[in-house]
Symmetry: C2
Subunit: 533 residues, 2 copies
């Protein structure tokens, strides 16, 4: 059975991209079972069917020897002659190289069909979710000067977004954002587009074409409060709603089953929306079972402004609640400064938080208290918030989430104020949980994605950490000095020396890994990115 996206273009005409074969993945699998429990499964087989769904998980016999899979696939009703139908990453744990020399730790991932052996430590980890990213802002990554939210919007953001009414520009930028985020291992992204119908629809089409799972939202911004620029806003609530419906229809046309693309209602943030618009969007969300995304409590001046704009509301959170936008499928970005009452209300409504630590640091917004949120039962995922955040990598967001949590824990260094507590620090398993299963909950897809289990779809990436640098010889660790210069030129900055355990390998990936370690990426079982060289 072949799945062909309706908008497939010539650039994706290669058959391996358009068809999904039944696949068996073999190797070490890492995923988060719970917030604190990182499960590492060695010598394991995952069977993924032609719909991209994991249908069976088996353990090997522990020797690392290849298992004869004919019986296993037979039980699944798959053709027993599987060689032509599958792709297998063979994992062989060995303390010897192929010549039996060196007591070096080695892991092989040969392509099963080609029987080729690669000297790489590789392990698939389940997919990363970006719960908050502004696709049109991508060209501004790293550009923010010393601005903070409100002047950043007017200086850097709105002019760029407005220029994406030009479709050739939008096409080039959006194509690149999707490729970039896929290369960083982002299998699902909650995208803000611009106010433009056509280029928003283009973004949705490109995500489908390139195979990235996406929530795509046209930015709704109809207020004349001063939050929107005259040249970049919807004229009124009715127009904003009509434009939004056009985008929803487009998504329904190109992907009626929401296999990859889900339209998302996107009131930009309270100051840029009228109550009437927010109310209408909330109504559509309920009628069509659609998610909502917006920003909340990012910056102190913004909060003060919201208070002035909506004097009838008790809090920033209460604005969204009063105007029907707080649902179990609402993604609230930032929430840096929310109070106890707001956390309780968000919890009650079941909405989720997109924690965007890189952006919050860059725009001087403050440090969100993630442990505090988790303690209050809130669902939290990670967002890059490009281009408030300068990096499109969810891994970089996970790293910064860890760093920021430790700054929260330390209290502000400048003073004797130590209101942080040691348990405010987020561990490696915890930041990976936020990046995967936590994010899945926030985007309302926890039944489908977020971990490796039977019934979930195969959204995954293959991580390679390179060859160990050292080996044990007669009880002493040695390395091959002469090869290092070439190696540091060709590999990413993660260095495995040979004595690390798997928890340590994962930690090294979290803290020094980059897109060079993301060797392959699959969504719905389909290979959507493969690292060259």
């Amino acid at each position: 059975m072949t799945s062909t996206p309706s908008m497939a273009s010539s650039s994706l005409s290669a058959p391996e991209k358009l068809s999904i074969k039944r696949q068996v993945f073999h190797g070490t699998f890492v995923h988060c079972k719970t917030l604190t429990d990182l499960e590492i499964l060695h010598d394991t087989y995952m069977f993924v069917d032609e719909h991209g769904v994991i249908v069976k998980i088996l353990s090997g016999d522990g020797t690392g020897d290849a298992r004869d899979l004919r019986e296993d696939v037979g039980e699944l009703g798959w053709d027993a002659d599987v060689d032509d139908e599958r792709e297998i990453f063979e994992y062989v744990g060995s303390s010897k190289d192929e010549h039996g020399e060196h007591g070096e730790e080695r892991f092989f991932f040969p392509g099963f069909i080609e029987k080729e052996k690669k000297k790489k430590i590789t392990n698939p980890i389940n997919k990363l979710l970006d719960t908050h990213i502004h696709a049109p802002q991508y060209p501004n990554s790293g550009l923010f000067g010393s601005s903070t939210l409100l002047n950043w919007l007017n200086t850097y953001t709105f002019p760029l977004e407005a220029s994406l009414s030009a479709l050739p520009k939008a096409r080039a930028i959006y194509s690149h954002v999707i490729q970039r985020t896929l290369s960083h291992g982002t299998t699902t992204a909650a995208y803000y587009a611009t106010i433009h119908v056509e280029s928003t629809n283009l973004l949705a089409g490109l995500c489908l074409q390139k195979g990235q799972r996406a929530l795509v939202g046209r930015c709704c911004m109809d207020s004349d409060s001063g939050a929107n620029l005259d040249y970049y806003r919807d004229d009124n609530p009715t127009q904003s709603l009509e434009r939004t419906k056009e985008c929803i229809s487009h998504c329904e046309n190109i992907d009626p089953d929401r296999r990859l693309i889900t339209p998302i209602l996107t009131p930009r943030f309270a100051p840029s929306c009228t109550p009437q618009l927010m109310g209408s969007l909330g109504k559509i969300a309920r009628e069509k079972d659609l998610p909502i995304q917006t920003h909340i409590s990012e910056n102190r001046s913004e909060i003060q402004w919201v208070k002035e704009l909506f004097p009838e509301c008790n809090s920033y959170t209460d604005v969204y609640d009063k105007y029907s936008c707080l649902t179990p499928k609402t993604i609230l970005a930032h929430a840096v400064h929310i109070g106890e009452d707001e956390a309780a209300l968000i919890r009650e409504r079941g909405s989720g938080i997109a924690h965007c630590p890189v952006s919050n640091s860059a725009l001087t917004s403050g440090m969100a208290r993630v442990r505090w949120m988790i303690d209050r039962g809130l669902n939290v995922g990670l967002g890059t918030d490009v281009s408030g955040g300068f990096s499109a990598s969810v891994l970089a967001a996970a790293r910064e989430a860890s760093c920021v949590s430790r700054c929260v824990a330390a209290g502000i260094g400048a003073s004797e104020n130590t209101n942080g507590k040691e348990r405010d620090t987020l561990s490696v398993p915890e930041v990976l949980y936020l990046a995967t299963r936590g994010g899945a909950k926030v985007v309302g897809m926890e039944d489908k994605i977020g971990g490796f289990e039977v019934g979930k779809v195969w959204d995954a990436q293959l991580i390679g950490l390179g060859k160990p640098l050292m080996h044990r010889k007669e009880g002493e660790w040695e390395g091959q000095e002469e090869t290092h210069e070439v190696e540091v030129s060709q590999t990413g900055p993660v260095d495995i020396f040979g004595w690390e355990n798997w928890d340590e390998k994962v930690a090294k990936w979290v803290f020094n890994g980059d897109d060079r370690n993301t060797m392959k990426v699959w969504v719905n079982g389909r290979l959507v990115h493969q690292r060259r060289n």
Copy 2:
């Protein structure tokens, strides 16, 4: 004239590494003139003599056309037939490609001799200095769990350092650290080694061999306060001093003029040293005009402990002052929690601060107030503090310095405490200043390195930011969608779209750049790293 390091090994037998030719560099140069002033020189020529010293700087005629250099080199007394003697990076700013098509911004850096043209945006920026890095801890990069300073030392750090008594292990690790840091553009590093004489000497020799400017210090730690482990310490002050002298002698033997290698006195930190040892080290420092490096005020528990261990001293800073270790050539790492009196004392003594933001975040130490330090006239440079810091990249440290300064500016997000001020934020020029000229002052080499001026040595890196992704066609910006997949696989995460000005290009490099952008690195005029592929 050829400079041959006395410890050159077979691995560096290639003649181009051992000899320095007279060189002319042509292109765009970026450096920090002052803390806030990033100077960007286009179409400029720098002439570097056979000692690696910049002897002449010229501006081109602004057209980007290659200048006839025969007269210029003649004035320097160089052979007018220079083709065989120099390497020139030719910079050509052009709005057309070689076929005259596309209104695309382009910069060429052909090798002058080979006349080959490369489609790269490249600009040399002056060298990065790492004012604080523990070479032996490198294999632990990214491994720190939820530990803080004092338990981190015992759990992760001392066992690894102790194991570097084994020379094969030390050789492999140190070789790799040097290659890695060079690949990140670190031309000067202030290294802590271990307590072992032989492997410390090995580190010094390897730095000389691989051509990295380094301050190399044997860790002095003789106290039985509990700060040192029984199996990893000097037995007494006398032994510690003797071992230290052995290391100094070795450095004096292999590089008598301190062209690259400077021994540095390294009392680890106050809790691990006796007053007698600190006093003796301070004395040697003065006698031999040697620098000192140590840690200060990193973590609140540590500060409390210092207070208990040295009740006779007024502050942590006062410990070092009382025991002769606070000199104009002292590098104090961290200084997260120092008070007004301490800042005044450090200022008075002329010592410098190695700000290590990645480490301070990772180890939950707190956030150093860099603006506050600068306001008090302190010299501040950047340190990676590997492996308290998880990244060996000074660029990553600059990025985190920026982020942390913005968290300081925002005050802690968790509370109403807003004791941060907007001016606490560090700008792009400022963090680059800390990484270059600031660091040069901290290591006492401001006359020699830190900027591009006649009389300074050529310690530099060539930064490449790739080809712009878009071009202007009939007034509209367009990109080549189909090429993106390959491009994102092969380039670093910095994306230049084509419309950025130079300040923006530099900002993009600071926030998203990595070792893939560091194409070449020179120290003392010698090419010491070149990126493959």
